[in-house]
Symmetry: C2
Subunit: 431 residues, 2 copies
């Protein structure tokens, strides 16, 4: 591979947990090699003038289902049961590998356009998802989603999991890695979860699982096992710092202590939890206890977009009103959730989540000479509370420019939109 | 005035309460004169090709304070008291007529870019607000905001109100009209409110007032008058179908009955109510009782934008999660809130709020060949749940094109941004 470098000149750098500073950033191949005021043009093969731009780490979306972008708008304003049984599951039965590829590309386009560079996905037809992530230029932790209630199904699901991980882990120049994913405590058995823990230890792969999204599933687990979901998972020996638990809405005090004790990582999905009327996760409280809570959009069928900038605003507004506390989840904390906490959640904080020398060049530039960023007194506030994502102008992942001045370089979006309309016709005609 | 006509050809028309249809729309001067499939190019002076565009009525933002766009980002994550006492009021003391003009222009730019054509504002320095609304090409119901606890102040405030209404009502080709605005029950006296009711009757002008935004103000009114705010307003003879009550968060069953009985119009401001941790208004319930609830953004200091498309999503998500009911406030209802209910709230539903022959041409075109609107199965869903407002390409108010293909025709936005930065320096240097 030919060596190449990019100089981002005179950017206003907003890093999680730090004051804003103005500086220039040099990228060598896939790595941030220098941050300094003294960098000059001849240091780089390509120069990006970032005057009037805000430079942030690319967002890390820690729970989503990319393929579901193809199902966007097919079921809204329905109770969770009806939504799953009468809408999503019948439609999902029509999702082929080709259709999942298109849905995933559509999702990647949406994420790149709103500054997300890394995502965490669990679904089926995951080979197609991996291909879409590779083709889009993004970074992804991907997992085949296991649902099994008996030994025979578990065997089949182990095979599916192993096929996926062995084929795709550490591919696409290291941008695609794999996790192991039991769907949820209520859609698996203790045997499934024990196998997952063992396989995770052996392969050194994180575990991605839905936990306690709805009141009903918590009640079901309590009825089945006589304890709440995180208590059940603890008892199985399942928990650890490599577990990424999505949703975690309904939690007892004891469960919060368990999450903290095992350093379980959480993915908070506020828009989806609100749209499906699942409930409100005690995020502000858990962050104050030192638990790593990150941010995810969930799939586009229950959000209905994958825009992390919108998700930040929704997350903080929800905590404030739910806790009757305007100081809850302030802007700097939700920005951390969407960046460095995302990196920690995926076990990638040595590589991504902030603009620092030695880290991968996963970056995003926003145009702040815009209405949402005016007056320019507080870019962090404007990013969280005012912006809706349209100011993202340039997105870089692994040192590659995926979008420059709002032009996608990696994918032809009009072509993908046309493919998506075709795919949707196929899905709906079969329904 | 020279006669002129615009033909919007082959639009996908989304009207509140109606199925989507494809048709063409002819505008003669300021009025929608014909909607038909048979309209041809020679019918009009100007033709807009709306193939691949969604045509909707311009949004009606029923509670905002335009000038506050200049204060955006100056105070976040603060309790309401601290926010008002230590941040907003000291800054507001520095707001001159010139600064309010710039802030209001900034607000108008943001609204035009996100498809809002009509707004309802109450504040001070209202001459500047009226000038900004006139210059921007938007439609606005504007009011000087009365705060008074004694007769002498009331006299001064009556003078200010009369000066404003006599100078600005029915100006700017009828785009600017005026209301009478007591700030709130807790910032006025019975005498103030009685004068407002009399003046409103005499001048035939609507009344714009904050009511029951926070728990504390409800408690204060109960302590002062021995009854809750809407009970107090009823007893004063203040209520009527021309009253626009903003916020209306904390309501008893009896107050909801009173609101219904007098056909009081409400402006729901979910983002602001969440950000200031004020609470959740029982909007879904009130709509089901037949109360006219519309949508407002409040000012940019407590939102922090004036984007009605984002406000629709936040409104519906909040009702769903708060009521634990995913069917609460469905997409079609929140779209009605943001359009036709807005028009009803301002007493303008004979003129605006839907795409119908005989109404004013206050319209918005969105580009639906975009990621947020793909796949194109359900434009209403995508508008509410997926879009973030960046797809608005053309905004028309009173038959004038204010933005075409994302280019503002009425205002030079870069010039306004520069003016806003200057104004902000002045405000902060005085603080």
């Amino acid at each position: 591979m030919e060596s190449k470098s990019i100089l981002i000149k005179n950017a206003t750098i907003l890093n999680p947990g730090e004051d804003i500073k103005k500086s220039s950033v040099l990228i060598d191949n896939d790595i941030i090699s220098c941050i300094s005021d003294d960098l000059i043009h001849k240091d780089a093969d390509k120069v990006i003038d970032a005057e009037g731009k805000l430079l942030i780490p690319g967002f890390v979306n820690t729970h989503t289902h990319l393929s579901m972008n193809i199902l966007r708008g097919s079921g809204d304003d329905l109770p969770l049961d009806t939504w799953l049984n009468e809408c999503i599951w019948p439609l999902e039965a029509n999702l082929t590998e080709d259709i999942c590829y298109v849905g995933s590309l559509l999702a990647c386009i949406e994420m790149i356009k709103t500054g997300t560079t890394c995502l965490n996905d669990m679904y089926f037809n995951m080979g197609s998802v991996a291909k879409a992530v590779e083709d889009s230029g993004m970074r992804g932790l991907l997992a085949y989603c296991i649902i099994a209630f008996d030994d025979e199904t578990l065997k089949k699901e182990i095979k599916n999991t192993n096929e996926f991980t062995s084929k795709y882990n550490n591919t696409a120049d290291g941008r695609v890695t794999t996790a192991i994913s039991p769907h949820a405590p209520y859609t698996t058995t203790p045997d499934v979860l024990k196998w997952v823990r063992k396989a995770s230890n052996k392969e050194n792969m994180p575990i991605h699982i839905h936990v306690s999204e709805t009141k009903k599933e918590v009640e079901d687990i309590v009825e089945l096992y006589g304890m709440r979901p995180f208590e059940y998972l603890e008892k199985l020996g399942f928990l650890g710092s490599d577990v990424i638990a999505a949703h975690a809405v309904h939690l007892s005090e004891n469960e919060i202590d368990i999450i903290k004790k095992y350093n379980v990582k959480l993915s908070h999905n506020p828009a989806s939890n609100m749209k499906l009327a699942s409930g409100v996760s005690p995020v502000d409280k858990m962050l104050k206890k030192g638990i790593t809570v990150s941010l995810g959009t969930d799939g586009a069928a229950s959000n209905n977009n994958l825009n992390m900038i919108e998700e930040m605003k929704i997350a903080t507004l929800l905590q404030k009103v739910h806790n009757y506390d305007a100081t809850a989840l302030p802007a700097e904390k939700v920005f951390e959730m969407a960046t460095i906490n995302g990196a920690k959640t995926l076990g990638m904080d040595d590589k991504i989540g902030s603009v620092n020398v030695g880290k991968k060049a996963d970056l995003c530039l926003l145009d702040i000479n815009t209405n949402y960023f005016t007056p320019n007194v507080n870019p962090l506030s404007h990013l969280v509370y005012s912006s809706v994502g349209g100011e993202v102008s340039t997105t870089i992942c692994n040192g590659e420019i995926l979008m420059e001045n709002k032009k996608l370089l990696c994918v032809d979006e009009m072509e993908v939109f046309a493919m998506a309309e075709n795919a949707t016709e196929k899905i709906l005609s079969k329904k």
